[in-house]
């Protein structure tokens, strides 16, 4: 049997896998071994797997590239989870891992035919194709759509268990490499509470996997962190900077949120690939990816490696490979100098070294089989015929891009440093600091020192310490400026070869060239047209190359070319993490459980759950009309106004008159805004001289409270205080001809018509509990609305039900109430009125007291009253009595040409069980609506139904039952 892990190396110092244990998982249907600590990518690499995925557009085979969670190449499906970065996800026993975007298989993908030969789809292909004949577009579109996307969504995935946590700290340090740790230590020492975030499993940053540092420096830093008062969050991605230093970070299934007073961005650098022919072949890896494989997981990237570099990191890598016993086919360095300490050993080991040379292409069908290199002139252009080096791996270490996206979103302005070929940020906004590798420092000591200074500056921003003296800053700046350049800006001119700028979207340098030639010549247009940088890496792999290419083609500097706007999140994040727990709270009344026990069907009403009915709404209506019913109206808004200023405020808030209301009396009231639009309605009682108690609609209660407060706090609040009693009181309406008899059993108060007539309020003890009892009636029956302290709500409700037993009491729900009120012709604000309705049109002209000196809506209603409203809300009956037109149907006027003009609409309609006919409310043009008996036409499901205007209540128009 062949070795299942042919490229797993003997144990490496600093590796993080546990070789004493083994787990297994499946990839593409086959079983693979791994050690705890392995990522999916490291385990697959150890097994010699080269192809991880197929590319987005051309379905080209792609393998591990960045090893840092940035690029799209290693995205896999893990069980039900799409688009998992396999280089970041730890292997688990029995994990089911599958390639994405490959059909029928990863090895034989028929869609890759799209990329056969040179027949790539040119940039903008879709915009220029599939238009004719236009009737075929839907078919083309379906075919294109089917080819789109990467991972697969599993519709069985549950919401999951996500949560959120607030963190509290003074200074946030983003990045736990040497500079971040130094910054955190320095700030902590000055007395700041520090939050230190790192996306790796342990602190240390590149010290964990790069051999340019000795293990002691990392251990030293880590020990100091442990002893300092620093909260460390590893495996934590900082997702975004938001307004006022609001930071979001994610660790696993948890979202962290923190407000920092100062932030140090020690976010490091991202190694970026270069452009050469076939630069997307599996087996081409970034140098840092190779070092991670080697030093964290003990895996060789291949059997024969060409190292391509333009800085010391490539030489470090080569030395690592040599030490690990991996064959080096060559070291290719753009630079002409050879001063790396390892160069002697490498040369001695017989490794061919090509200075002043660059990689121009890779060869191979499914993976790299050779590298093509060439000498270059001083401008970086290849000279001579080139040389072919047989290899199975190419390690690219030619340049870095500071990870500044987070700082850009925080308002940092990018400046391209020509001499370093890297972006920097200048100016950095106040209270924000950038340090370490992200700030251009490369040597370890410089990174540590730069971090320390940033930490001190952050602490000084909080006035915990003095800022470092200027000469210290100058010295550091001088040291940084002397650092060796680590990034090459060499870029070839597009010449028809397959050089991928953007791996996510399969965009080549030819595409960029073409797009610019077509006029998409600003970076933002180029991005949108070519879709470059719009894929899963969000430009981390491609932005800088695209900029260099764009500036080369246009003959302008990178700075002039500009860069596209950075947008959060910096790392893609689960919807589940952002959502957190499934929390959509509902409000319930004090007797909610009682309703449920009685089988109530609940409905959503604003924030509340209310019983819609208890099984048979019609029976509930009949019971109220004939015997007695009880409804829970606790969600009503309930407010108390106290103080001598209350009448003045009420006069201004309502269209009605209040000053003349006597103690113990109740009046119906309507509130409008200054546009004259109806906001809310309800009843208001003068409880005593300086105490008023009012109710609003259930759904409008919150808005009404804020509305009243607004006016009260902006000049109309003299000598008055508003208290929200909505949740303090539960409220029940006892309605029906027997309601007095029921209530009488529970109170000593005289309920006779003389002592307690209609439209009065009385403080009344009901079942031993002091309540406010209103004699009002939305249902049109003799009724009492009992407002009881919520703590005693259930007691009083049950007492009423028990007392009503002999009279046939039954609970009724919202549906029965709607029918009952409709029989009385009462409107419901928000149903029969909308955001355009005024009270003159809405049949409430009687309540509008224009003679008052001022009230909200007065000026607008005065204007409307001159000509009268155009539309009126009126009652109607159907000519065919059993037809119930659904609410929302339109009222039409048939034209001579057969066309139906809309003239109104149905806002309420029900079949009245009391009257045995269909009734409703509707909006009509005033001329029709003003005439009782006038007929009009409703458009219902293709038919025309006739209806007649009705004014006033449909049932008991004289209101005898109410007042009985």
């Amino acid at each position: 049997m062949s070795d299942p892990t042919p490229t797993r190396l003997p144990e490496r110092p600093g590796e993080i896998i546990d070789r004493t244990r083994q787990v297994s998982f499946t990839f593409n249907g086959e079983i693979y071994p791994a050690h705890p600590g392995d990522t999916i990518a490291s385990a697959l690499s150890a097994a010699g797997v080269r192809t991880f995925s197929r590319s987005f557009k051309y379905h080209r085979p792609r393998g591990l590239l960045c090893g840092a969670g940035h690029c799209p190449n290693c995205l896999v499906q893990v069980g039900d989870e799409p688009n998992v970065r396999s280089c970041q996800r730890a292997v688990e026993q029995d994990m089911d891992v599958n390639p994405q975007n490959a059909w029928p298989s990863l090895d034989q993908d028929v869609m890759s035919l799209a990329g056969l030969g040179d027949r790539f789809m040119p940039v903008g292909f879709y915009y220029k194709t599939f238009m004719k004949p236009s009737q075929l577009w839907p078919h083309y579109e379906q075919a294109l759509r089917n080819a789109a996307g990467l991972g697969v969504v599993d519709q069985g995935t549950p919401w999951g268990a996500y949560d959120k946590q607030y963190l509290h700290g003074d200074v946030a340090v983003i990045g736990g490499g040497p500079s971040g740790i130094s910054a955190a230590l320095e700030a902590a020492e000055a007395g700041a509470n520090v939050l230190l975030f790192d996306n790796g499993p342990q602190l240390g940053g590149h010290l964990r996997w790069r051999s340019d540092s000795d293990d002691t420096s990392r251990k030293d830093l880590l020990e100091k962190v442990q002893s300092a008062r620093i909260e460390v969050y590893t495996d934590t991605d900082v997702l975004g900077w938001y307004q006022d230093n609001w930071l979001a970070a994610v660790r696993g299934d948890r979202l962290f949120k923190a407000r920092a007073k100062a932030i140090v961005f020690a976010t490091g650098t991202i190694e970026v690939p270069t452009l050469f022919d076939n630069n997307d072949l599996p087996g081409i890896l970034l140098g840092s990816a190779v070092q991670r494989l080697l030093n964290l997981y003990g895996v060789a990237p291949g059997r024969r490696v060409v190292v391509v570099t333009a800085n010391r990191h490539g030489w470090d890598l080569a030395a690592d490979l040599l030490a690990a016993g991996v064959e080096l086919a060559a070291i290719v360095d753009e630079r002409r100098t050879r001063d790396h300490p390892a160069s002697v050993d490498l040369a001695a080991a017989g490794v061919p070294i090509y200075n002043g040379s660059a990689l121009t292409g890779a060869r191979g069908r499914k993976a790299v089989s050779a590298a093509v290199i060439s000498e270059i002139d001083d401008s970086g252009n290849p000279i001579g015929p080139g040389r072919v080096l047989s290899c199975d791996t190419i390690a690219l270490s030619t340049g870095w891009e500071p990870a500044l996206d987070l700082l850009y979103t925080a308002g940092g302005k990018s400046v391209y440093q020509e001499n370093r070929a890297e972006m920097s940020v200048d100016p950095v906004p106040d209270g924000l600091y950038v340090a370490g590798s992200a700030n251009g420092a490369d040597l370890l000591q410089a990174r540590v020192e730069d971090g320390r200074v940033a930490g001190r500056l952050a602490a000084a921003h909080l006035e915990l310490t003095e800022p470092p003296p200027q000469q210290e800053l100058d010295k550091l700046a001088l040291e940084l400026s002397k650092e060796e350049r680590r990034t090459s800006d060499r870029i070839s001119a597009p010449d028809g070869k397959k050089r991928f700028v953007c791996f996510c979207e399969d965009v080549t340098d030819v595409d960029v060239d073409t797009a610019i030639a077509e006029g998409y010549d600003s970076v933002e247009l180029l991005k949108r047209y070519s879709t470059i940088s719009m894929g899963p890496c969000q430009g981390k792999m491609c932005s800088v190359n695209a900029l260099r290419l764009c500036s080369r083609i246009k003959g302008q500097s990178v700075q002039e070319t500009g860069r596209t706007t950075s947008r959060p999140p910096t790392t893609p994040v689960y919807l589940g993490v952002l959502a957190g727990q499934n929390m959509e709270p509902v409000q319930v009344s004090s007797i909610h459980d009682w309703h449920l026990d009685r089988g109530a069907s609940m409905m959503v009403a604003g924030l509340w759950l209310r019983p819609e009915h208890y099984g048979d709404a019609t029976a509930e209506v009949n019971n109220v009309r004939n015997r007695v019913g009880l409804i829970d109206v606790s969600p009503l808004g309930k407010f108390q106004l106290t103080g001598p200023g209350a009448p003045d405020l009420l006069e201004r808030l309502y269209i009605n008159q209040w000053r003349n209301l006597r103690k113990g009396r109740v009046r119906y009231g309507v509130m409008c805004n200054d546009e004259g639009v109806v906001l809310d309605d309800g009843v208001c009682a003068r409880v005593d001289d300086d105490t008023w108690y009012l109710s609003t609609t259930s759904t409008g209660a919150g808005t009404a409270f804020q509305w009243i407060q607004w006016w009260l706090q902006s000049g109309w609040g003299g000598n008055v205080h508003l208290t929200d009693m909505t949740e303090i009181y539960s409220a029940f309406n006892l309605a029906g001809p027997h309601s007095r008899e029921v209530l009488r059993k529970l109170t000593k108060r005289d309920l006779g018509n003389k002592a307690f007539p209609y439209m009065r309020i009385r403080r009344t003890r009901v079942a031993g509990v002091s309540c406010r009892v209103w004699r009002i009636g939305f249902t049109g029956e003799l009724s009492y609305e009992i407002h009881v302290p919520s703590s005693a709500g259930l007691h009083v409700w049950e007492a009423l039900m028990e007392a009503g037993g002999e009279f046939g009491i039954a609970p009724f729900g919202v549906e029965a109430q709607r029918v009952l009120r409709l029989e009385k012709g009462h409107l419901i604000v928000g149903q029969d009125t909308d955001a355009m309705s005024d009270p003159l049109g809405a049949d409430m002209a009687w309540a509008v007291k224009l003679e008052k000196p001022d009230f909200l809506g007065k000026r607008s209603l005065e204007r409307i009253s001159v000509d009268g409203p155009h539309q009126r809300l009126v009652g109607f009956e159907m000519t065919r009595k059993h037809i119930v037109p659904e609410e929302g149907l339109q009222i039409v006027k048939p034209q001579e040409n057969g066309k139906l003009n809309i003239i109104g609409w149905i806002s309420s309609s029900r079949f009245s069980p009391t009257l045995k006919k269909s009734i409703g409310l509707c909006w009509l043009p005033s001329d029709i609506g003003s005439e009782p008996g006038a007929t009009f036409t409703i458009y219902q499901d293709g038919r025309l139904e006739e209806a007649r205007v009705h004014h006033g209540p449909f049932f008991d128009p004289g209101g005898e039952r109410l007042k009985s």
Partner: protein, 394 residues
């Protein structure tokens, strides 16, 4: 496509704002009225404003007859746009669902469906049994807070490639001689004796007796240069996309109560948005609150998306008018015209807006179709009734 041309010192018509509206107007001016001495000025690149920041939903299922008529014409123009512009704008009429979670919402949806049908627009109320077929991915199980009771189904609604619309109009306008000047910011409007005479720009003075303000977001700023205050308030509107996924969601799904809309693009990304930000601002910074709230609401409808990742979020600016309807046409300043106040529904009106504004400019008369949207309606207290459907709807 389009060309860099020298900025002349005068044009017959200057259009401020190189978005889909401004460019559509230029296109129709040139194509249908032979008016080609036109400059479109944009302070950034074309399509950099609302045109490139919206979620590219096209529909016509509005509440008022005037709204429905207008947007229906827009949908019809969109259907022909690829052929007209010889540029595939990828209009994908996948159907559009607006969910109703309360009986009140059902009533409003029926009101809209009936108005739509009477105006000849394909739109109807569907209930859970049918919804399960139209969008089987929706979680139709019992929800205490947001039960799905019904939906307004609008089959002609769909999504489009927004940038392509911008580029298509730009290309055609350019071909007919319109000048498109990018990176040209208007810094002043020259008004004398109640008439517009030209504009000051970052590249110099440009004379024009007709100036169209088509600057979503900055409508008030430009109007103020002409001495006008408008009935609009600018607020950010945010959106986001997920990583690409294999296609699974065919229709556009909108929930007014949950303030969320979701569609899957031709690239496989889920494109999602919500209502405008809770406070007015000209800032185009993204917020965390937005994605947190949105994610919760999306999962309420599609819980199985919990492991799908948000890739990118962004913001654009909207101008909210009091009656949820745009401001189009003449102003008290002669020659200074408006095409602003588009709330969250501007992109879907681009072609018809361009066409009617071009007609207005060419004939100096307000076309009937946009008469309801005139600025003077506020002083006349003759607002459009679209606010009656007050809830988010994209």
């Amino acid at each position: 496509m389009w060309h860099d041309r020298p900025l002349k010192d005068g044009y017959d018509v200057v259009i401020i704002g190189g978005g889909a509206h401004g460019l559509a107007c230029a296109h129709y001016l040139a194509k249908e009225h032979g008016v080609t001495d036109v400059a479109v000025l944009d302070k950034s690149y074309i399509g950099s404003g609302g045109s490139g920041r919206n979620t590219a939903i096209v529909r016509s299922n509005y509440l008022t007859p005037e709204g429905v008529r207008f947007y229906d014409e827009s949908v019809k123009l969109y259907e022909q746009l690829a052929a007209e512009l010889e540029f595939n704008v990828m209009f994908s009429q996948r159907g559009h669902l607006t969910l109703a979670h309360t009986d009140g919402a059902v009533r409003t949806m029926r009101r809209r469906a009936e108005v739509n049908r009477l105006q000849g627009v394909d739109s109807r109320l569907v209930f859970p049994d049918e919804l399960a077929h139209i969008c089987p991915q929706l979680d139709l199980s019992e929800h205490p807070r947001y039960p799905i009771m019904a939906a307004l189904y609008h089959p002609p609604g769909g999504i489009i490639r927004h940038d392509a619309v911008v580029w298509g109009f730009a290309n055609h306008a350019d071909r007919r001689g319109v000048h498109i000047h990018q990176q040209t910011e208007v810094t002043g409007v020259d008004v004398r004796d109640g008439k517009v005479r030209g504009v000051e720009t970052s590249r110099g003075y440009v004379a024009a007796e007709t100036v169209l303000n088509a600057t979503a977001g900055w409508g008030s700023t430009i109007a103020a240069m002409a001495g006008l205050e408008l009935p609009i308030a600018t607020a950010p509107l945010q959106a986001c996309v997920t990583e690409p996924l294999k296609p699974f969601l065919d229709v556009v799904v909108v929930s007014g109560s949950l303030h969320v809309y979701v569609s899957q693009s031709s690239r496989g990304e889920l494109v999602m948005g919500a209502s405008v930000d809770p406070f007015g601002s000209y800032s185009m910074n993204s917020s965390l609150d937005f994605v947190e709230g949105l994610a919760g609401h999306v999962l309420e409808l599609f819980p199985f998306l919990s492991k799908v990742r948000i890739l990118r979020q962004w913001a654009g600016l909207c101008e909210m008018p009091p009656d949820f309807s745009p401001l189009m046409g003449f102003t008290p300043v002669e020659g200074f015209l408006l095409d602003v106040g588009w709330g969250t529904y501007g992109f879907k009106a681009s072609p018809i807006c361009g066409k009617t504004m071009a007609e207005l400019i060419a004939t100096n008369t307000t076309p009937d179709l946009i008469y309801p949207f005139r600025l003077s309606r506020f002083a006349e207290f003759d607002l459009v009734g679209e606010k009656g459907a007050a809830s988010v709807g994209h």
